[in-house]
Symmetry: C2
Subunit: 331 residues, 2 copies
């Protein structure tokens, strides 16, 4: 296994420890519940925003904790939902008079853990709202999902809700805003290679040297179909068409365009993809008003990419522009 790992069972805790050591002023690691939270959370004047999911999608979500983004992330092991009692404890730790908002990507395991954690926390008097993210247009129902999967569009839900919560928005308004952002976000991804979970030690699925998986899920779930490798532009054409036609995005729309690497794809290739995608959208009369090129929601070391479009309006643009600070940074 060509990975930086010690004992695979320590993979997630060792990563979380590293995040906290690198950002001692802004986040802390709580080993008892395997969580990362802001050092200044919970705050009485702010709804606490929590996301949980399996690990292996970094920087989502444990590196998205900070001012203007998440108040805490509650990760499970690699590709496993967090235990419901950790969801409960995270929710209680983050309890604020203004309530706690759960953002959940639409996977059956995550939803079950959060449903149960929510029920138990509500029984203890915590007020909770829930937003489900399901932006992946590739397939309806999937290996681990009823309905569509939640993938990289999740970043925009977190960013908008994080900004609005800093501005004092109430729980109900945040739920409505989160649903609205999710309703205008669409993503499709594809894989050139499989990925290797540390505890498995070998690729999660097999993909031939001359094959790619169009519409792949971020846990290696099958997509729309497997086909022969194609050039970058051909791949981008198919991803864009699937995403644009789904909402649909129309001539005159202002959009945010995200080119998201799945973990093993160099940033050089992501910018090559961006250039072509930007031009293709322009030729359809769709204006890329904001762009995001890099890794936002990965699948371990998978070589691949997803493309997300979000339809912008003035409110959403302003929330995306608001300042934010998380462990992922250059300087």
């Amino acid at each position: 296994m060509k990975k930086f790992v010690n004992d695979p069972k320590d993979f997630v805790p060792e990563m979380l420890k590293g995040i906290a050591l690198a950002n001692p002023d802004t986040v802390k690691y709580v080993p008892e519940y395997n969580l990362i939270m802001r050092t200044d959370a919970p705050r009485d004047d702010k709804v606490s925003i929590v996301q949980g999911s399996g690990s292996g999608h970094e920087p989502a979500h444990v590196m998205a904790v900070g001012k203007g983004m998440l108040d805490a992330a509650c990760p499970g092991d690699v590709f496993s939902a967090p235990p419901m009692d950790y969801v409960l404890e995270t929710t209680k730790l983050l309890n604020s008079p203004k309530g706690v908002l759960h953002i959940i990507n639409n996977y059956t395991g995550d939803r079950m853990a959060f449903d149960m954690g929510r029920e138990m926390a509500e029984a203890e008097g915590v007020r909770i709202g829930t937003v489900i993210v399901d932006d992946d247009v590739a397939v309806k129902d999937s290996t681990y999902t009823v309905g569509r999967r939640g993938v990289a569009g999740n970043f925009f839900v977190i960013k908008a809700l994080g900004a609005a919560s800093e501005q004092g928005a109430e729980l109900d308004d945040l739920v409505a805003l989160g649903e609205r952002v999710n309703s205008v976000a669409r993503t499709m991804g594809m894989a050139l290679t499989s990925c290797t979970p540390p505890a498995k030690g070998s690729p999660l699925f097999d993909l031939g040297d001359d094959e790619m998986e169009m519409g792949v899920g971020i846990h290696g779930e099958p997509g729309r179909r497997r086909e022969k490798l194609a050039s970058s532009n051909v791949i981008v054409d198919e991803l864009l068409e699937a995403v644009v036609s789904d909402l649909p995005f129309k001539k005159g729309d202002n959009v945010a365009l995200m080119i998201n690497g799945l973990g093993g794809t160099p940033i050089s290739e992501l910018y090559l993809i961006y250039g072509y995608a930007h031009e293709q959208l322009a030729s359809r009369g769709i204006n890329v008003a904001r762009n995001y090129v890099g890794e936002y929601c990965t699948s371990l070391d998978m070589a691949g990419v997803s493309i997300t479009l979000v339809k912008l309006d003035d409110e959403l643009t302003s929330l995306l522009e608001a300042p934010a600070e998380i462990p992922i940074r250059v300087f």
Copy 2:
């Protein structure tokens, strides 16, 4: 070849176009000379800072152009030095009354191209200073290098010189500062896998399934030795020992610690490495005052890591803290 590529000969220009389309307010692409430059360069009140090198190391250096960093980057094709006439034209385009500073990583091809480009530009009246970066402690002399190689420590030279040049520093002072930063920066890297240049279409070198290359170069040059795969902590121990003992870094030193992914290593693994490296330095009495975890200087899709330490003083800390804006960003 599992890469996002169209015609391999267009790989670099298509990437550069993408960078410029994603950052139209701050950088522009000049196709005639295959360069990326700031939209506001050259400025009369500022030395222009230029770096050139082969491509394939992104974000170095074409995505490091912007306020407080480079004024222009002059890339060659993948793992090839830029042509000397492009160095000349870039230097002329960036000419400022305060002069032009060349930052060059120590590879024979790059030094030749920049030596000749400098000579021709000086003949046309441009005042030029040069800083050579050679922070790699792995080996002295290498496949493409006489002396030590320049690798990820380059980021700190750019950051410090970019900040100082924004504050109006003169050319000679910048040369001295760059040499000083290079003199306190030390790096060593290692590879778990090879990398695949687009034009070659197959791995650059062979590395067995159970092997790793300690001290690898960022073009796949041999390092100190090839050995059996080891756990992350064992790898980090060897890299840290090589780096710490070289300067040497001592008890009581304040340092910047960079954990740099070589292109195919997930950020989860880089943070796992960071946590252990931070603790090991602390146990030696070395204080990590600033940290950098991510991709800064890569080798295409190579899975691997390098560790850089820079000894800090008040001036250098202040230059590293100064604001900067480049295409690589999260929000």
